[in-house]
Symmetry: C2
Subunit: 417 residues, 2 copies
């Protein structure tokens, strides 16, 4: 049946939850998490399971040369590019049951719901599983969505090795997922990714749905502060060149620059290393890492400039040598406003509390956005914890997220079908 | 000859320098330093040499049960307690040619000068070599002057082990320096220690003699800051409990508290350790060391209070848990003003540029001060460097220091003979 409205379909919350818990057995850890590294036998097992489930619904399943799995449910207009959703089934070594997995299994639940309702969409609907989103066994993260988007070369991806020297290419062959389809050939008309927030905002604000509008751009730095090592007892304060005191000023400056660009900016120093530290020796050399994130590249430029200005002032005043090396950056992602509107409409149609937000972590959707209109849906996770076996999300929030995914895809199908 | 004035004697600068360079061969390192750890065969060698030199001058040499060597030159009044000087012949593993050694060999030069001049002092004069000042092979430092002063037990000292399990008691026996005299039996009427400054002040001010009036008291702390580890990308600034940012505020507070108590106070954070640091993780737990030094225990109390007040304020404002554990302290040392005056007179009599100062490091004199009127004489060392094979002092400054030592002892002998 077709309609000028998208239908008021809802997913089956219990079936979704049962599916999450069932597949969580594949690689389950004693603490309640999952260790299911990409391209291992456990990964093969969950892939095979997923393909079987999709085929049982009558979907056509294809696999590309990076092992990305595409399950297609036919719509009325068979040769149009599908409206798609998906995420990743691989996990961290001490991963949880929801990170990435929710987005794929919610997609499966969308297909099951449409099948159960006998509903014919305008465009085909598709669920995707992206290979190696985590980048834990083989760096970097979002490897195969990166190849899909043309950001990374296929040969580069094939050559990535794990700590035992196995390559992505070899492992794809070994588990039988080096597909025939060229990576990038699969077009999407739109792409939606449901994911746990992996942060504290939704839970803190008692809000169910995050309508994700942007992804953070990132700037990573390696910094070094050089002063002069000397005796803590015999060196008077005015004659010191204390590299740790200089570093401390920079740590606080990085925090302040982020606060100055509220509400979206974050700034973090995660690693600080004093060279040959000793209780009674004034630190002479300190290395530390720094990173900024913000959804606007222009703001990131200004934050970086501000950091360099502060570093120069501190170096000058304290007689230190300070270097700030920009070592990596990631462009900010502006998700498609049509997709965002579809998500917003879906959330409102259920009456779910919701708010716009920016994704602070990288996702496959960030790369897919370079190829097709894309946006994301977030749900809360307990204490904002992820990449941790204690990662948790509620029955109700998982259902809400899947419901929003379903109706966002249907709304987009209605308006752009 | 006696005189109402102390005689205008001067030491032999070349003889002093040659002696320094000669004994530096015992344990010499390729980089120009000395590795002559306490109670090793090299230490025995230099001790034997020193005893022989003193006996050649007609001194009576005694050794106490901690291996402390006392070389006595008779004066007119034989049974009075001697006016003494000394320091230590043991070195750091990568030590220099002057740290401690200068104070002993300058004392030998004082005896040689008096002998050469045929000068009879009122009281006996004495040169002392203290065992294990460095505390490198066997902790803690100033071990045997500590026993001498009654601050440390003899059995405790005998039981100290090196990394191979050898004890001080065994090693004293092994090298034949477990003497018969009871530790502490040797009285001094006054004690003077000449030492390189091990700091940058004299060199920076182009000043030859440091007239040392006090020794720093010390307060050592182990501090812990506990916040909450979380994702650097997804945790907005207002929801963070960044233990490193809190630590950075404390590092700067410690620096400021020291500056607030200028000119003598110093404050240092030498070691900072983030638990499981990672570039993309906000630090959740940070351990760090802190120390304050000042020549007044009352000021050290106020500085410690100020640190606790700042820690409580930072903890409250940032939602952190901060603990400041006082783990060790060392009482400030006020040297004898009569000894200080003798040193001052001696420096002025030569026309050496000089200034009063506080010793920032620990020395045997700090313990001896508990038993007898004591003070110290400093000379500059290059770049303030010590505990380093590149440690260096000039021919002229070593001579100046020894000259001041000689005339300070003579002035004290004149006034307190």
């Amino acid at each position: 049946m077709s309609s000028a409205q998208s239908p008021n379909l809802s997913i089956n919350a219990q079936r979704l939850w049962d599916t999450l818990m069932e597949t969580a057995k594949i690689g389950a850890t004693p603490k309640g998490g999952i260790k299911r590294l990409t391209l291992t036998d456990l990964d093969k097992q969950v892939r095979d399971w997923f393909v079987a489930q999709c085929e049982a619904l009558g979907c056509t399943v294809s696999v590309d040369a990076m092992g990305n799995i595409f399950a297609l449910r036919a719509g009325r207009n068979g040769d149009l590019a599908p409206i798609a959703c998906g995420s990743h089934l691989d996990t961290q070594p001490t991963g949880g049951k929801f990170d990435g997995i929710l987005g794929v299994l919610a997609g499966l639940e969308v297909l099951r719901t449409l099948d159960e309702a006998g509903y014919e969409t305008n465009r085909p609907f598709m669920v995707t599983n992206w290979t190696n989103e985590e980048g834990s066994r083989f760096a970097p993260a979002m490897l195969s969505s990166g190849v899909y988007a043309g950001a990374l070369d296929l040969d580069y991806a094939y050559g990535r090795t794990d700590k035992d020297g196995a390559t992505v290419g070899e492992e794809l062959e070994r588990i039988g997922y080096k597909g025939d389809a060229l990576v990038g050939d699969q077009d999407f008309h739109a792409f939606f990714e449901l994911h746990i927030e992996q942060g504290p905002i939704l839970e803190a604000e008692d809000t169910v749905i995050g309508v994700v509008t942007d992804g953070q751009g990132q700037r990573w730095f390696n910094c070094t502060v050089v002063g002069r090592e000397s005796h803590a007892g015999t060196t008077p304060m005015p004659l010191r060149k204390d590299a740790l005191a200089g570093t401390s000023e920079l740590v606080l400056a990085i925090e302040q620059i982020a606060k100055d660009n509220a509400p979206f900016a974050v700034g973090t120093v995660g690693v600080v290393e004093i060279a040959e530290p000793s209780r009674n020796v004034i630190p002479g050399t300190v290395d530390f890492t720094a990173e900024f994130r913000h959804p606007s590249d222009a703001v990131l430029d200004r934050m970086t400039d501000a950091l360099r200005v502060r570093a120069a002032e501190i170096a000058d005043r304290r007689g230190l040598d300070i270097t700030v090396d920009a070592i990596w950056d990631y462009a900010a992602v502006k998700f498609d406003r049509g997709c965002v509107a579809a998500v917003q409409e879906a959330a409102d149609s259920f009456g779910y509390s919701n708010r716009e937000m920016v994704s602070g972590a990288g996702h496959d959707a960030c790369y897919v956005n370079r190829r097709a209109p894309t946006s994301m849906v977030f749900i809360p996770c307990k204490d904002g914890i992820s990449h941790n076996e204690l990662e948790d999300a509620t029955f109700e929030d998982c259902a809400a997220g899947a419901n929003v995914l379903l109706r966002a895809m249907l709304a987009y199908d209605r308006d752009h079908g």
